[in-house]
Subunit: 395 residues, 2 copies
C-alpha cells in the first residue's frame, strides 16, 4: 500500500486492551482485562417489549434520520437525572447524545485541541481517552494522584507553568483504571482552578451511578459557575453498551459547538436506540435495575478484594474502589506486569498491564483488574492463579 | 463562555441543510430539501420480527460490546454484495462497519489529511463531505464535471500541478447533488490516474443500488489493482437510516488503519443494529425490498422531471438522474437561488440552494431537489410553486 497517511496516524496505535480482549475471547480464559458489564444484567425481556412498543407507536420515525443533538425526551431525562444526582442545573439543550462516551471524548478533542496543545490528566488515566486526544496531536502532562484524586497543589503549579494547556481530563468517580474517587474538597478546588485559569475541564463519568457504599458526591460541574466543565455520561454501564448511547453535557453555547462537530463526524446516533432507551425509562424502573447491577458488582468487588488479600503477596498495594468496575494493583517496582501477563495467559487468566494507562510511560509494575464481568467463582480462581504467578516472580 | 476552541472549529459551521430541515419540519411544508428516504418503505413488520429473533437467540451478545470492525457475518454479506454488484474482490477483512457513511468520510479524513493538504472533488460535491474533510484543515480543488463525471483532462492537469494532493473524493453513481453518473471510461481513467499519481480515491456510493433504469456499472474500485481506492456503502438508503449502519471497504492494511482510527473515535457501531441487519438479510428478501424502493422513487423522479418540464421556464437546465434521490437545477446566472428559497418558504416549499455544494464558492444560481421523500401529489404541487417563484424572478 503506497497511500501516504496523515501524521496523526503514527501517534495512535491499536488499543492494547482490545488486542488482549481478542486473545481472551476463548471461553476457558478468565478475563479481568475488559471493562465489560455483566451481560446477565441486561434487561432483555424489557427490551423486547419496548422495541415492539416503539416500532408499533412510531416505527417510521424511529427508523428515519433525526436531529444531531438527539431525541428530546431522552435529553430531558438525562438533564433531570444529572440535576438530581450530580447537582447540575441543566435542561435538554445542555445535552447532546453521543455514540458512546468515547465519542464525547473524541469530540471534546475536536473542539478544543490544536496540534501541540497540552491536556492535563490524572496519572494514570483512561487508556482510550489517551487514544482519542492523541489523534489531535496534543501532549499530555500527568498530574500525580492519591486515593482522593489529583494532588491540587501539583495541578496548580502545572497550570502556572505551561502556556498551551487546553483542558484538564478527569474521572472523579471510581476512576478507570484505579477505582479511586475524588473527595469533595478536590472537586471544589478543581472547579475553582478551571475558572481562575480559564481552562476547560472534561469530567468523564461513566461509572458514577455504580456506587456500592458511601454517599454520592456532587460533580465537579456542580461547582462550576462559568461553564468551564464539560460532563460525559453513558447508558453503557447502567443499561447496555451495545446501544452506544451516551452524552456530553455543558454550557449551551458549547453544546451547540459539539452539535456542529458531530454533524461532520457522523450526523447523529441510532434513532431507534435513542427512542427505545427513552421508552424504557418511561415504562420500566431503571433505579431498581441499577440497584440490581450494584448488588452483583458489590459482591464481585468484595470477592476480588478478599481474594487479592488471600492470594497475592502481603506487601502488594491495591485500591479499595467504592464503586465502578475496576481495581488497581501496584507490584514491587522490579516486576514488569507485562511479563506477569505473559505467564498468566499460559494459565488462562488475563488483565491489562498498567503501563498502558500512563501516556508518558512508566507504571510497568501496575495492573488493572476488572471485577464486573466474571462470576465470583471465576474471580476467586483467576486471582488465585495471578497470585501464584506473582509469588513466583518475587525476589 | 471563555473556553478557547481549536482553530478547526472556525473552519466548520452548522450544516445548511440540517438548519433548513428544521424550518421544514412543519407538516404543511413541501420539502425537497433533505435526503430522507421514504419512510413508507421501512420494513417495520419485518424489523419487529427480526428484533425478537435476535434478542431471543443472542440477546446477551447483541446488547454487549463487540469488535471495532463489526459483526463478521454482516461484513461477509457486504463483501459478497460488493463483489457481485461492483466487481470488487473483497472478503470480510476488507470491510469495517461505520456509524453511517458520514463516519466513513470523517475517518477517511482522519487517516489521510494533514493540515494544508489538498483534496480534489467534483464541482459541485456532497455538502457533508466538505464539512467532514474541512475539519482536518484541508483545501479543496474542484474539478469541473459534466453529465458523465469529472473531466479527466482537468483532473490530470491538477494532479500534475499540485504537490499536496492527498485524495480524490467522488460519488460516481447518482451523485449528490447533481444526480449524474460517471460513465465506464471515466471510472477506468480515474483508477488509472490514482495509481499513476499514487493518490487515494474515496469512492462514496450511498445510492448505487437505487438504479431506476440502465445497467449497473462496475465501481472505480474494480479497476484498482493496487489498493488506492477506498469505497463506502450504506444501509441507510436500502433499509433504514435510523440504524446508522454503513461501511468502508478497501485494502486490508488500510482497513486495519481505519479500525485503529475508529477505536479512538467511538469504539464500535451499535451491536444490536449490526446483528438485526445481518438477521434481516438472512431471513428476508432484500432484493425484493430494494425493487420496491426503486419502483417508488422511479415514479417520483418521473413526476418531478415531468413537473419541472411543465412548470419551470423552458430555458432552465436540469439533470436527468438514472437513480438515487436528487435532481439538480441551473437557473439563469443572474438569479440567486437563496433568494428564490426565501420566497419559496413563504409558499411553504423548500429545497437546498446549490451554493452549499461548492467548497470554494459559486453556484449561486443552482439548486438541489430531493424526490424520494414526498408523494407524487406533493411533488407536482411543490414544483409548481417553485416554478411560479422562478418565473416571477426572470428578467
Amino acid at each position: 500500500m503506497n497511500i501516504k497517511l496523515a501524521k496523526r496516524m503514527s501517534n495512535i496505535k491499536a488499543s492494547e486492551i482490545r488486542e488482549i480482549l481478542k486473545i481472551t475471547e476463548r471461553p476457558d480464559v478468565i478475563s479481568f482485562a475488559g471493562g465489560l458489564p455483566a451481560p446477565e444484567t441486561f434487561p432483555i425481556d424489557d427490551i423486547k417489549r419496548i422495541n415492539q412498543l416503539v416500532l408499533q407507536e412510531s416505527g417510521s420515525r424511529a427508523l428515519q434520520y433525526t436531529t444531531t443533538e438527539g431525541y428530546a425526551p431522552l435529553r430531558k431525562w438525562i438533564a433531570n437525572r444529572m440535576n438530581c444526582r450530580l447537582g447540575t442545573q441543566f435542561d435538554e439543550d445542555n445535552i447532546m447524545l453521543t455514540n458512546g462516551s468515547q465519542q464525547a471524548l473524541d469530540l471534546s478533542g475536536k473542539l478544543l485541541l490544536d496540534e501541540g496543545d497540552i491536556i492535563l490528566c490524572e496519572s494514570p488515566t483512561y487508556l482510550a481517552a489517551i487514544t482519542a486526544f492523541r489523534a489531535y496531536g496534543c501532549q499530555f502532562i500527568e498530574i500525580p494522584t492519591d486515593d482522593n484524586g489529583m494532588l491540587i497543589d501539583e495541578l496548580e503549579i502545572t497550570l502556572q507553568t505551561y502556556d498551551r494547556i487546553k483542558a484538564i481530563y478527569v474521572i472523579p468517580d471510581f476512576q478507570n483504571p484505579t477505582g479511586n474517587t475524588w473527595n469533595l474538597e478536590r472537586r471544589q478546588a478543581l472547579a475553582s482552578l478551571a475558572s481562575r485559569y480559564q481552562i476547560a475541564v472534561i469530567e468523564d463519568n461513566p461509572y458514577g451511578e455504580l456506587r456500592f457504599e458511601g454517599a454520592f458526591l456532587p460533580s465537579v460541574k456542580s461547582f462550576d459557575k462559568e461553564g468551564y466543565v464539560i460532563c460525559t455520561g453513558t447508558f453503557s454501564k447502567i443499561f447496555c453498551p451495545g446501544y452506544r448511547i451516551a452524552w456530553v453535557a455543558g454550557d449551551k453555547e458549547l453544546i451547540r459547538q459539539f452539535v456542529i462537530a458531530k454533524q461532520g463526524t457522523d450526523l447523529q446516533c441510532n434513532t431507534l436506540a435513542q427512542m427505545e432507551i427513552a421508552k424504557y425509562l418511561e415504562c420500566c424502573d431503571i433505579d431498581a435495575h441499577i440497584e440490581k447491577i450494584r448488588e452483583i458488582y458489590r459482591h464481585r468487588r468484595n470477592t476480588m478484594l478478599d481474594s487479592i488479600k488471600r492470594y497475592f503477596p502481603t506487601n502488594i498495594r491495591f485500591s479499595q474502589p467504592e464503586g465502578g468496575l475496576f481495581a488497581w494493583v501496584e507490584l514491587p517496582t522490579y516486576i514488569d506486569s507485562r511479563q506477569i501477563l505473559t505467564m498468566c495467559l499460559k494459565e488462562n487468566v488475563a488483565f491489562v498491564p498498567g503501563a498502558a494507562f500512563f501516556p508518558n510511560g512508566g507504571g510497568h509494575n501496575t495492573l488493572r483488574l476488572n471485577f464486573s464481568n466474571m462470576s465470583e467463582e471465576n474471580i476467586i480462581e483467576g486471582i488465585k492463579r495471578i497470585g501464584h504467578v506473582i509469588h513466583a516472580a518475587l525476589k
